[in-house]
């Protein structure tokens, strides 16, 4: 379809995509010859393409359909039998209708080159060519959804979204993904009050044009198990309540205990606005007990570069050696993992891993399983030391899960020392990276959502450490460890673990329902936007806190989102610039506090046992449950 006419070339259509550009070339893209050529190609493409546009999900956003509008004939001259193939099953995410396939092999190339999981191929030949897996199997890549976007026709469509909507019915909202800490740029497509699908937006600095399957397909979790009204526990059972009722109960409770017995733990998907409001609310109440690290991590976050992905995601393209410590990027940040694979494919790049072996999409040298390997590298005795020493721009990726270990601070400090030893910290390069998996974490650390002076951290707030515990959409902590007598206020959007334990539930918004600020793992400030209204009585999270603060007589100094954001920008200048982003040089001479000798030699196991269900939204998603059943049968059985 890319035929063009080029002056001073033989008088026939030229294939643009295969023609090298040369000096003084004059190219015509719309002449009679070009149109005729393209009409001819179109006719060939349509020979075997079924005319099922009315029942095809691609209709309205189909490249072939668009081309047919421009170059198609008004009738078909073809009256032979059309090719038709059986419909294969590629798992719970991708619906393959291969009769519509035009054999462009984009999906084959994507899975083999970008996703690094070569499962698709072109089998048989000529007229009988089939794109497929040959053997019946579900695609095992965490990026498999992207082939739906890549497919120019309706051969690959989204299985959960099948027959749901036409593209022109959808309201499209640019937003940010919060199901991992990469902060992939997304477009939320909604109709009425329902988010129907999520697609990636191009941002070459962050997610390029890809999106992980969890981020893309968890949308059906957004309308299930939702908290759409306040709830109150009475006689051991939750009952629906009104906002006034719950505010009254909370006020009575909070005022009845000493400020030092109040505590707040923030979850992994909170926007910066609600966290700032919550922090200031607790400061007003006089409580220093706030923590955004619900996994119990305690480490030195006094300096921004201690907890950021300092090389930046795009910076991976420049790195020439990589040491992964206790992380499985394929599960914790699949898009970032694709970036590492891209770097590996370019050549001159070696990756090493300290932790439990896992299947990454590029070869990894196993340096060791426990922290002994870190020590060996610090002493320069491990063979991988030579690779790091020879590298010009080496990077370390430290899994945020490691910081949650009892010896997290020690590993944090040791990893920093490694970076120092192997010349990762200099004026041109900062190779110390923490790979977070919680979208809220960096933003929360940036605004200092950590225990104040003599404040209690997550672990101390559990087991009866506080009398009133505020869970801000925090579900991934050890709920059972919360003290029996502790009064739990849960503000969040899903009826998950936290809500089940709560005494009062304040219904908040999921990320598609509010304008929120998020900071990704590399410290990039990005904004999500409201795509749909929150269900029922649910309200934007910062408004709930603002309302309660006024109810209790500590009114926070902002009434609108813009006031809150202005306030935020004054307090923390990083939020003052639109898409604020600062790439650090590694010249800071301070190192994070932490006693390296305290490292214990337990294997550095990556934090997620599976990729698909890691937060309250994906746990509520039937599609993600189907993925678990297809890919992690043992976990699916355990869940039943």
């Amino acid at each position: 379809m890319c035929l063009v006419e080029i002056e001073k070339m033989p008088p026939r259509p030229q294939v643009a995509c295969g023609m090298p550009v040369s000096d003084g070339m004059v190219v015509h893209t719309d002449t009679e010859m070009v149109r005729k050529g393209r009409r001819g190609v179109m006719e060939f493409l349509l020979i075997n393409h079924p005319l099922d546009c009315p029942i095809c999900d691609q209709g309205g956003e189909c490249d072939l359909q668009d081309e047919a509008v421009s170059y198609g004939r008004d009738y078909s001259r073809y009256d032979e039998a059309k090719r038709a193939v059986a419909q294969p099953d590629w798992g719970p995410l991708v619906k393959a209708t291969m009769t519509r396939c035009i054999h462009c092999t984009r999906c084959v190339r994507f899975t083999a080159e970008v996703a690094g999981v070569a499962e698709l191929g072109a089998t048989f030949r000529g007229e009988s060519t089939q794109i497929g897996t040959y053997v019946q199997k579900a695609l095992s890549s965490e990026l498999s959804g992207n082939i739906i976007d890549l497919c120019p026709v309706g051969a690959l469509t989204s299985k959960p979204y099948a027959f749901t909507a036409r593209p022109w019915e959808l309201r499209k909202t640019d937003s940010i993904d919060v199901l991992d800490a990469v902060g992939a740029n997304i477009r939320v497509d909604a109709r009425g009050a329902e988010v129907l699908r999520i697609l990636p937006r191009i941002n070459d600095e962050v997610n390029e044009e890809w999106l992980g399957d969890k981020s893309r397909f968890s949308v059906d979790g957004l309308k299930r198990r939702r908290l759409d009204r306040p709830w109150l526990r009475e006689n051991g059972k939750l009952r629906p309540a009104s906002w006034d009722e719950v505010f009254e109960v909370i006020t009575a409770r909070m005022k009845s205990v000493a400020p030092g017995r109040l505590g707040a733990i923030a979850g992994d998907q909170c926007d910066v606005e609600s966290l700032l409001a919550l922090k200031q609310f607790f400061t007003a109440l006089g409580s220093p007990n706030i923590d955004c690290r619900q996994d119990g991590a305690v480490f030195d976050s006094s300096c921004r570069s201690f907890y950021l992905f300092n090389s930046t995601i795009a910076g991976i393209d420049e790195a020439d050696a990589l040491l992964i410590i206790g992380s499985n990027p394929r599960h914790e940040a699949p898009v970032l993992n694709a970036r590492i694979r891209k770097r590996w494919l370019a050549g001159g790049f070696t990756a090493g891993l300290i932790g439990m072996p896992n299947q990454l999409t590029y070869p990894v040298e196993q340096v060791g399983a426990g922290s002994g390997a870190i020590k060996a590298l610090l002493e320069g005795t491990a063979p991988f030391a030579n690779i790091l020493a020879a590298a010009k721009k080496p990077v370390i990726i430290l899994g945020a899960g490691m910081l949650a270990r009892p010896d997290g601070a020690a590993i944090h400090s040791a990893a920093w020392q490694l970076a120092l030893k192997y010349n990762m910290l200099n004026a041109e390069w900062h190779g110390f990276n923490v790979l977070h998996h919680a979208a809220a974490r960096v933003g929360a650390l940036d605004i200092g959502f950590v225990p104040g002076e003599a404040g209690k951290a997550t672990v101390q707030m559990l087991s009866g450490g506080v009398d009133v515990l505020w869970l801000q959409a925090a579900d991934e902590l050890d709920i059972a460890a919360i003290g029996k007598e502790t009064f739990v206020i849960y503000q969040g959007h899903h009826g998950d673990a936290g809500a089940a334990r709560a005494d009062v539930i304040l219904p908040g918004c999921a990320y598609t329902e509010k304008d929120g600020t998020y900071v990704n793992t590399e410290g990039r400030v990005q904004y999500s936007a409201m795509a749909v209204k929150p269900p029922g009585d649910a309200r934007e999270d910062w408004r709930i806190i603002r309302a309660l603060s006024a109810y209790m007589g500590y009114a926070l100094p902002y009434d609108t989102l813009s006031e809150l954001r202005a306030h935020l920008a004054v307090l923390y200048p990083i939020f003052s610039v639109e898409n604020g982003f600062h790439r650090f040089a590694g010249t800071s001479i301070t190192a994070p506090a932490g006693d390296m000798t305290a490292m214990d030699d337990a294997p550095l196991t990556a934090v997620f046992p599976n990729y698909y269900q890691t937060d309250s939204i994906s746990r509520a998603s039937p599609t993600m449950a189907a993925c678990i059943a297809a890919h992690v049968p043992a976990a699916a059985e355990a869940a039943e």
């Binding site: 294969p88 083999a112 053997v135």
Partner: protein
């Protein structure tokens, strides 16, 4: 779609291993994938040798993928692309009739019909009830001079007609061995059927 998995496991035997090593050694390190077609052929011949049926089960393709260190799908692609590899079991004698223009002009339709009536096979791609024969339609075998051609397993039988086909297949049906390959009318390679007509001596008479 998927091949009939009748063979669960596959490993190269000692004869094959030798051939595999030789084939892989032909290519520089890191380019072992180039040997995939040779290995598929070796696997198919091993199946013929050990089970009497020349085909490549999926287990064999997987074994080849492991041996070459590539994704299995890359082997499936090759195996299904080339018609010489049978991804489904075939009969003991794989009858491959050329029906391309030169053979067709010389009567390949008769050959196909004769094969059908002799074996009882209804259409291309099927195997006879006794499991002896599989009939396949192939494109030009490159021996047009001696058309029409029937390839049985590895050998060409040339200058055929319906009568000779039936005789040939009847012989095989009663347990006979494959007759010598080549022309069935005694022609020497692809020399003219009648007399020498070119490169004559100066007197114009054939020797």
């Amino acid at each position: 779609m998927s091949a009939q998995v009748e063979v669960q496991t596959f490993s190269f035997d000692s004869i094959s291993q030798e051939a595999v090593a030789k084939a892989v050694a032909l290519y520089p390190p890191g380019k072992q994938m180039s040997a995939v077609k040779a290995l598929l052929d070796i696997a198919q011949r091993q199946m013929a040798r050990l089970t009497g049926v020349a085909w490549v089960p999926q287990a064999a393709m997987d074994a080849i993928a492991r041996h070459l260190g590539v994704a299995p799908i890359r082997v499936y692609e090759n195996a299904t692309f080339y018609t010489m590899f049978n991804t489904k079991p075939v009969g003991k004698y794989h009858l491959q009739v050329c029906t391309t223009t030169p053979c067709w002009l010389r009567g390949s339709d008769d050959i196909v019909n004769a094969c059908r009536s002799a074996t009882g096979i209804a259409s291309f791609g099927q195997t006879s009830e006794d499991g002896l024969f599989t009939l396949t339609e192939v494109e030009c075998l490159g021996a047009c001079v001696n058309a029409p051609i029937l390839q049985i397993n590895d050998d060409y039988y040339e200058d055929l007609d319906a009568v000779r086909i039936e005789k040939l297949l009847d012989g095989l049906k009663t347990g006979g061995a494959l007759p010598p390959a080549g022309s069935t009318i005694g022609r020497q390679t692809s020399a003219p059927i009648a007399n020498q007509t070119t490169l004559l001596p100066a007197n114009g008479q054939a020797e």
